[in-house]
Symmetry: D2
Subunit: 340 residues, 4 copies
């Protein structure tokens, strides 16, 4: 059975494994106070061109979203998100569990538009009283989005400017950031992102690590951030596990290098799908490919390849997702193409 279900089905990149083995018996301080965490933070600061950034390593994506949003919002505020945003749809209400509303706005292919955002905020503050409403306290976007799409530099800049003009922070969820950074045609670099947002995270779980997301506050973290991380049960005792992984990923550009494999394999697969006349649900330039299958196609493929159900399109069509990753082998892609 070929496996294209998701981008977190393997363990960790072999270089990470090697470093974990090498450092295993060193006695290190806990809770992220060790030298590997320090080194990893420094490398990330450099990669982001943000010498004063606060970097914190958390374990997983939902956790990171809940911790970042829950620690940045005031009590009377909610987080603005695309209707399709992961925080709104697929995190079991983790944001609401912290007491905050997700304020949904319309999206297109998973992306929000600066103009739509501006209008939403203007309407909120326009005449009429808003004291009985949830204040928009931050904006959440994902890059790549849940549909694999990417913001251009101009688009992100426009969103950033709207946020600045309303004085609300911008948070970029980078669970799959590596795949976005090396996508063909993207003009957004890590330094651009660090420059344009108030907080973002560099996803490890889906890009070569066993687990781990690096939260970056380019201009400093909220006061007592670590205590809030602990309060949400997100502080790892053996912080080394995260520090060593990110130190490895940010040595010799490993993070970007291994991301490229996902893009290359995805490109080959997309080309083949296109040639065979498959319809795409959305045009994604990264490692997630959303295809509309007729039911009989779906049944046939399911026998030999594992992929993700996304949603019912209509009576006889289904949207499914094929995902590649840092670990996908080109030979598996070719085997998949054979049976398309």
């Amino acid at each position: 059975m070929l496996y294209f279900v998701n981008d977190y089905c393997e363990g960790a990149h072999e270089e990470i494994l090697k470093r974990l083995v090498e450092t295993n018996m060193e006695k290190l301080d806990g809770y992220g106070m060790d030298s590997y965490c320090e080194s990893a933070k420094e490398k990330i600061r450099r990669a982001c061109e943000c010498p004063n950034a606060d970097v914190t390593f958390l374990v997983g994506g939902t956790q990171t979203n809940a911790v970042v949003i829950g620690s940045m919002l005031n009590r009377y505020e909610g987080v603005v998100s695309a209707k399709t945003g992961h925080v709104s749809v697929h995190e079991a209400g983790a944001i609401e569990y912290t007491g905050h509303k997700v304020l949904e706005i319309p999206e297109k292919d998973g992306k929000i538009d600066a103009q739509v955002l501006r209008q939403y905020l203007e309407t909120f503050y326009q005449d009429g009283n808003h004291d009985h409403m949830v204040f928009p306290g931050m904006v959440y976007i994902s890059h790549p989005t849940e549909y694999g799409t990417l913001y251009t530099k101009a688009e992100l800049k426009a969103i950033s400017e709207v946020c600045k003009s309303f004085e609300i922070p911008l948070f970029l969820d980078g669970a799959r950031l590596g795949y976005g950074l090396v996508s063909k045609g993207t003009d957004l670099t890590l330094a651009d992102i660090a420059h344009l947002v108030d907080v973002f995270y560099i996803g490890g779980t889906k890009v070569g690590a066993f687990c781990g997301e690096a939260v970056v506050f380019p201009n400093g973290a909220p006061k007592h951030f670590i205590t809030m991380v602990k309060q949400q049960g997100a502080l790892l005792a053996k912080g080394r596990l995260l520090g060593i992984q990110f130190d490895t990923l940010f040595t010799n550009d490993l993070y970007l290098k291994i991301s490229e494999n996902a893009i290359q394999t995805a490109e080959v697969l997309k080309q083949a799908l296109k040639e065979r006349g498959y319809q795409f649900y959305v045009d994604s330039p990264t490692n997630q490919i959303f295809v509309i299958l007729e039911d009989h196609q779906k049944e046939r493929l399911e026998k030999r390849v594992a992929f993700s159900f996304w949603e019912k399109m209509d009576e006889s069509h289904t949207v499914v997702r094929f995902a590649t990753s840092w670990a996908t082998k080109m030979e598996d892609v070719k085997a998949l193409i054979e049976i398309l």
Copy 2:
């Protein structure tokens, strides 16, 4: 200045005042354990034809919604509501503050449709995993809705059946219930509602009381409901204040009788608006009248009559609301008509 801003601008019905004065120096137990609360509960049970109903008196509407929803939902559940539902839009995130998501579904004139609800629930449970999503744990509707519209008995029955088939409770917000019950042409009685929903409240604040909403659980309240009421700061020490008010409102049908005044005055006003060619934003059969004003009309009227801004319609039009109530004088309506 004529005042049609809302339906809570006067104090309490004079009969209530009289009873408060009469009973004032009686020494009564606190926290709703007094004889007036008991009597009021019994009268409400009778009016609802629900001899086993649990009745609890709370102070205000947002509080009641937060207490009912927060005490009935399991932790992993959210409340399904029309996108325009009061709990979703105008309660400052009170529901999310209890840790629960408001799951918005489409509406028409403030009402949800049984078919739309069924489809939403079916999609949630259809193939594909929903363990990472917020479970729909109850359905919230308002009657009259935020737009003054009403469910027919058939419509409410259909929604009730969908809820039953998915085994989730149905909650009816009756902040303005009196006005709905006496609206011309409605076929829904108090007993019907008590029969078709799992919990509802009979609004006092907007129908003749200083404050107070009577929460009715036709088949019994959640375990330790009073402790949860206390936990949300909603347990009134001098429960008599609520008990005496509702005891009065449910003596000799006072609640329905005074509601009729709101409908009669609204009908006269609506007829006059229609004759003068005003456009309605929605066709409301109760005491809230939503009118689309051109800006110059709005400016002219504002000088002599107070009404509510609702929302901008477009560049040159605004939706406004005129509200009548149990206390509106027909002479004020006539004065308003003069200047329309």
Copy 3:
């Protein structure tokens, strides 16, 4: 049956009733934006000698504690309270429901000591890491306390100084403040309190009102306080009900005058108890009298007078409470004395 169970068993002071009746049909703005609220706030500011104070009217005591504490604490903070503090023991977990821990410290007769507080705070910040602990974010005291005791001016000043030196706000729960202000021998005035604390409330429910507590922030309320009040379901639509009551209570010193009745009747009762050899559980100078009864005494008295069970003392003794109030008649006290 004589009734000394609590200080909230009657309705409202007759002057309040009169004003409610007089103003009843005036059309006023909602949510505390009416002229009576404004007038009441101004009178309270004057009584507190705090021209810039923010005053907000809430409905009840637990609600007020939860709203004040929940809106002033940062997420990583808890509220320091005497182990016997109302917020810790008798509010059904209302503070924890807002996500905050009550940090208990030792007390004597319901009061905390400045030195004990200082030591607690110093220990918290001493060497050793406290990032994994709940930060002490404010201090809660009650005056009178749950045991009817009072702080002296020197004691409150000392506590205030400790709070200032650690930069954490001091909150005084004045559910029974009136009775404290007119207690014989107290040297603490309303202006003193407003000068020494960061927030306090003037209790109405137990001092002549149907309901209502006036929250005073001498130096301004937290940003968007009203939205947080709404979020906790504590914003009364007909704010007039609270405004008119407090406007009345703060006209011609009515609040203090009616408080005196509670003290006078309590003094007579205490004297009689002392003469008859009853043992006091605590020496309270206000309107709550805690007496240790032998079981046979308790049984005998219970037949003719209602009082409060407080706690079991030992196998054969029970602590009970007799409470007087603004409404207690001296003839009832005399009747009680007859049967002691």
Copy 4:
């Protein structure tokens, strides 16, 4: 510098590393649905002699406590814990963040006593109303405790019986369970624990794993437990990381075998401390040794060995902790003894 600061300063047991490397490129399902998680669960069920137990792998201790307590308690309930319980003191308010109060009861050397617990519960339910209080909804104990002490089988049985008679679940925090199970003289087995409590966890982080705690519900987990895990941000995408670790630890009794090293090294160290006249703060039979040092002793030792500050004893004495672990080398213990 010798390092005896804690029991989580090394990486993972080499056998775990080996298995992680071997299985690294296998494509596995996410979120704990993989075969290694299944296998680990089955082995744990067998070790616990609980064929129907629900086993869930979480990442860390605070997280586990917050998830278990937050998912088992009703909204009106709190968790009873020793005053020194980790959940009460050192988790940054993680329990309160879920909305629940920690109800502290007295302890001795970190342990609670069945009689004290029974009395606490009886007092709660005795005459007098408890509707305004937080209901005791579960009991939390740790084994070993925060002071390294252990319950005997008779003691745990007595606590279990109290819980059963009040129908509240018993939760045992086993962050260091391995060290308790192999402590000399303990008569409590894993099967005993599984038989006597309603939920417990087998700590991995402090006993040979990089991270991970195995939550065991001997009689089944709460409904939709996984959704609540996700809601608290505690669901690991690559569940394999936890599954493989626990599968390894529960193969050939590795968990118990490596725990023995901690006990053996601790015993040698304790004996030496005793011989040299050091005073113990508490008599711990497990891997944590609490010693009272005079300040000059502390200063001298600090130069060559790292240990934990615990608390100030008095002006000139400090309580410190030496911890051994699965990874402590006997040669390091000997070197430490040399310089004592």
